[in-house]
C-alpha cells in the first residue's frame, strides 16, 4: 500500500520496523547472525526492549525477515547480471561472477541467507533460483532421461513458485546443481579453507564455472561413468 493511504499509526509502525531491520542488519553485517542481540538493537534505537518485542516476537523472527531481505537483494543482483549479458553462456558467467561478488562483499548477510536455518525461506530463495532456471531453459534443457527416476520424480514435484511455468526435471536439476556448486565454493572460500590449502579461490571458482558452461552445452548429466 502506498504511504499516503496508510493511517498515521501504520506509517509510524512501518518506519519503525524498517529502522529495526536496518539496525539489526548492521549488527549481522559486522558480527554474523550469532551476534544479533535484540537488547542491543533496542539500545541503538533508544527504545526499550519490551517495546521492540511489539514489532518482532523474537530474535528468530527478526533473523528470518532479514534473511528474506538478503535473498531478495541477492536475487536483484543476479537478475541485473543476467539482463546485462546476451547469450546463455555469457549470462551463466555473469550471474556466477555477480553471485560471488555479492557474497564476498557481505559475507555475513550471505551466511544468514544461505548457511543458517533462518535463510531457509523457499519463496525468497526461489527468486534467485529462477534466474538460474531461466538461463538453463533458454540454453536448451538437458535431457531428463539421464536423471535416475526417483530424483526425477522429486524434481517434478518441486514447485517453482506462484505463476511460474513448470520447468522440466533436467532444468531444475541443473539449476540446483549450479547453486550447490557455487555455494560450496563460496562457503569454503568465506571460511578461508581454499586459501588455507594454498589454492586461489577465484581460479577454482572460474574453473568450476567453465565446467558448467561446458555442461550447459552438453547436458550436465549426459553420459555415464559406470
Amino acid at each position: 500500500m502506498p504511504e499516503q493511504q496508510l493511517t498515521r499509526r501504520d506509517r509510524y509502525r512501518r518506519r519503525t520496523v524498517a529502522e529495526i531491520k536496518e539496525a539489526a542488519m548492521a549488527q549481522v553485517r559486522s558480527g554474523g547472525p550469532e551476534a544479533l542481540s535484540l537488547a542491543a538493537v533496542a539500545r541503538t534505537m533508544a527504545m526499550s526492549a519490551p517495546a521492540l518485542y511489539r514489532y518482532f516476537a523474537g530474535r528468530d523472527e527478526l533473523l528470518a525477515e532479514l534473511a528474506v531481505d538478503a535473498h531478495l537483494a541477492l536475487a536483484r543482483t543476479l537478475e541485473a547480471a543476467a539482463a546485462g549479458a546476451t547469450t546463455p553462456a555469457a549470462r551463466l558467467r555473469a550471474v556466477a561472477v555477480a553471485y560471488r561478488e555479492w557474497a564476498l562483499a557481505q559475507p555475513h548477510a550471505y551466511r544468514l541467507a544461505c548457511e543458517s536455518p533462518h535463510g531457509c525461506v523457499a519463496s525468497a530463495a526461489q527468486r534467485s533460483m529462477n534466474v538460474l532456471l531461466d538461463i538453463v531453459a533458454e540454453a536448451g534443457a538437458p535431457p531428463d532421461a539421464v536423471i535416475p527416476a526417483p530424483l526425477r520424480a522429486q524434481l517434478h514435484r518441486w514447485n517453482d513458485g506462484a505463476g511460474r511455468r513448470g520447468h522440466p526435471a533436467g532444468v531444475r536439476h541443473f539449476g540446483l546443481v549450479w547453486w550447490s556448486r557455487l555455494h560450496g565454493l563460496i562457503s569454503l572460500e568465506l571460511a578461508q579453507h581454499t586459501v588455507g590449502i594454498g589454492i586461489d579461490p577465484g581460479l577454482l571458482y572460474r574453473s568450476e564455472v567453465e565446467t558448467m558452461v561446458d555442461s550447459l552445452r552438453h547436458g550436465v548429466t549426459a553420459g555415464s561413468s559406470r
Partner: protein, 232 residues
C-alpha cells in the same frame, strides 16, 4: 606409538579426566547452540568449576576452540577412514562410501560441521593454514580418484597453468607428489560440491522441495569422475 608408555601418576590421571570432561561439556554446548555459545564462563558453569580452574587447561577460549576443531576434524576423518575399512569394492564405489560417511557425520553433528566449515567469518580463530586431520581424508580421496582415472588417455592438466601449479603444490603437501593436477582438481571438486549440497541440506533448503540430497551427490560424483578423462 612407540614402546610402552610409563604408567600415569594419579595427578596425571585426574588431569586427563578433567580434560575429557572439558571436551565433553564443550561439545554439549556446541551441539546445542553452536560454537558461538561456547565461552570459558559458560563451560565452567556447566561443569560446576571455576573459570580460573578451566584456564589452567586452556589459556584462552581460542586455544580451547582450536583444540575442539582439531578433535572434530579427527572424528570426521576417522569416520571416513572407517567406512573404507575392509572394503574390496571398486574405487568409484569406495568414493561413494567415503562421501556418505562425510555426509552422515555432518548430519549427525551439524553444529560441529558448522564450526569446521561455516561460522568462520565471526569470532573463530582460523586454522592457520597448517595441515589438518582432514588432509588424511583428502589423501584417501586422491588415491581413489587416481585409481579411477588410471589408464585414462586425458592429459593431467586442468587447462589453467597457475591453478595447475597450486594444485601440484597442494598434492605434494598431501604427500601425493605424483598426483596429476587434474586428479587434484577433481578431488577438490568432489569436496566443494559435496560441501555445497550438504551445506544447503543442513539449512533445510531441500526439505521444502522434497529433494533427496544423497541422489544429487551421487550424480555430482559421477560428473566429477567423468572430468578425470574429459579433454582439458
Amino acid at each position: 606409538m612407540t614402546g610402552e608408555p610409563p604408567k600415569p601418576s594419579r595427578r596425571e590421571r585426574l588431569r586427563a579426566q578433567t580434560l575429557q570432561e572439558i571436551e565433553d561439556n564443550s561439545f554439549a554446548i556446541i551441539d546445542a547452540d553452536g560454537v558461538h555459545a561456547l565461552s570459558i564462563a559458560a563451560l565452567a558453569r556447566s561443569m560446576a568449576m571455576s573459570a580460573p580452574a578451566v584456564y589452567r587447561y586452556f589459556p584462552s577460549r581460542d586455544a580451547l576452540v582450536i583444540h575442539l576443531i582439531t578433535l572434530s576434524y579427527r572424528q570426521l576423518t576417522d569416520a571416513m577412514a572407517q567406512a573404507l575399512q575392509g572394503s574390496r569394492r571398486a574405487p568409484r564405489a569406495r568414493i561413494g562410501l567415503l562421501v556418505t560417511a562425510y555426509r552422515d557425520w555432518a548430519l549427525r553433528h551439524r553444529r560441529r560441521y558448522g564450526m569446521l566449515f561455516g561460522e568462520r567469518g565471526g569470532d573463530l580463530p582460523a586454522d592457520g593454514g597448517g595441515p589438518t586431520p582432514l588432509d588424511q581424508a583428502m589423501a584417501l580421496l586422491i588415491d581413489l580418484l587416481t585409481a579411477v582415472g588410471d589408464g585414462s588417455p586425458a592429459d593431467g592438466t586442468t587447462g589453467d597453468r597457475v591453478l595447475d601449479g597450486q594444485l601440484g603444490k597442494w598434492a605434494r603437501s598431501q604427500e601425493r607428489p605424483d598426483t596429476s593436477a587434474r586428479a587434484a582438481r577433481v578431488a577438490l571438486m568432489v569436496w566443494t560440491r559435496v560441501h555445497g549440497i550438504v551445506g544447503l541440506e543442513l539449512t533445510g533448503m531441500f526439505d521444502d522441495r522434497g529433494i533427496d540430497a544423497q541422489r544429487l551427490i551421487d550424480l555430482e560424483i559421477d560428473d566429477a569422475v567423468r572430468a578425470l578423462s574429459a579433454p582439458a
